[in-house]
Point group: C2
Chain length 202, copies 2
């Protein structure tokens, strides 16, 4: 290897490690979902880890064939922008209005820490998730919805009760689950109906 | 689809969702590594999430070509057994002695929640990681070592100081990093030497 190549490699690796250290902050971004067993609130990194494993194990239920490696990576990185932009609760209309703008600025700052080619790759993957127009992004959205629902349902719907969320709001959000997976939507629908019957969703 | 197939599908999905809910408990297994910015201790789910992203971004530094999807999945699931077995600190000789036995029992209980084919797949993947005899497992071990080192180094080596860990112990553990990635071992070596020079490692 030529000396200049060695220097370039070092600079590249430095950027990759700087980014790796930066994303550690995602562990401090807390969501509105409680862990199972009536635990503390979940953070974004844990949510992403859980989604990626569920995506892999449940891939047979995707409506369309998917590149599962791409789905997993999408799940893992889809909330990195929240390091700057914060978590936006799915049923908070005020914060939802400014979400896009906050996340665009965050995306530019955080992914720019990476070498250019990887900045481009992760930005494209993040945009693909957000635009929700491919089989992979649709299936990733199913998991983004199902994972917190599974926890909330296991706790008797307490997250919804805490925020006074209505069945109509939940069904509105879960529409995306169906676009990615009819089979997972059926489970979702059953959980929602159970919670309506129990009175934890109005 | 025949009715019996529909029933089988439901039973299969139920097992997959039961497993998905069970692994939520990994978020309550705390490690000895502190988050960057002198934060709280890290948990296993966050560690696995971080490792999987780092594996993907740093895959060019693997000594051997790897199936990166397999490496990522290995990273994501490698600590699931700790739900029952608990975290074993890398520099705790007493707990290290009983680690294998505790983890074997945990592996059997937890992966048995899955449908048989997925139990078999995840068990094999976990064993492959543990046996450390394939390119994928060697690279995954490099990340298992580098990820906490990156955090600890960013905090000035406080995790080592807290436990009175010696440079010799750290080098012993980091031997595995070199087997997976010489390039990542060079960074590791530099971080260790910096910490020795600063007095946080003796």
């Amino acid at each position: 290897m030529l000396p200049c190549e060695a220097i370039k490699m070092t600079d590249r690796l430095k950027k990759q490690l700087d980014f790796s250290l930066e994303i550690d902050k995602e562990k401090n971004i807390f969501r509105q979902t409680s862990l199972s067993g009536h635990g503390r609130k979940e953070n974004d990194a844990e949510h992403a880890w859980h989604m990626a494993i569920m995506a892999y194990l449940l891939r047979e239920y995707s409506n369309e064939p998917v590149d599962i490696q791409k789905v997993m990576l999408m799940c893992l990185i889809h909330d990195i922008v929240e390091i700057d932009a914060g978590d936006t609760y799915a049923y908070d209309p005020e914060r939802l209005e400014t979400q896009k703008e906050r996340e665009q600025a965050a995306k530019e700052r955080i992914f720019s820490i990476l070498p250019d080619d990887q900045k481009e790759e992760l930005t494209a993957l993040f945009d693909e998730f957000e635009n929700n127009e491919t089989a992979e992004s649709r299936f990733a959205h199913s998991l983004d919805n199902l994972q917190p629902l599974l926890l909330n349902n296991s706790n008797g719907g307490t997250d919804w009760m805490e925020h006074g969320v209505s069945a109509e709001q939940v069904y509105g959000r879960q529409r995306k689950t169906k676009e990615g997976s009819v089979a997972l939507y059926e489970v979702t629908d059953k959980m929602i109906k159970d919670n309506i019957a129990k009175g934890s969703l109005k």
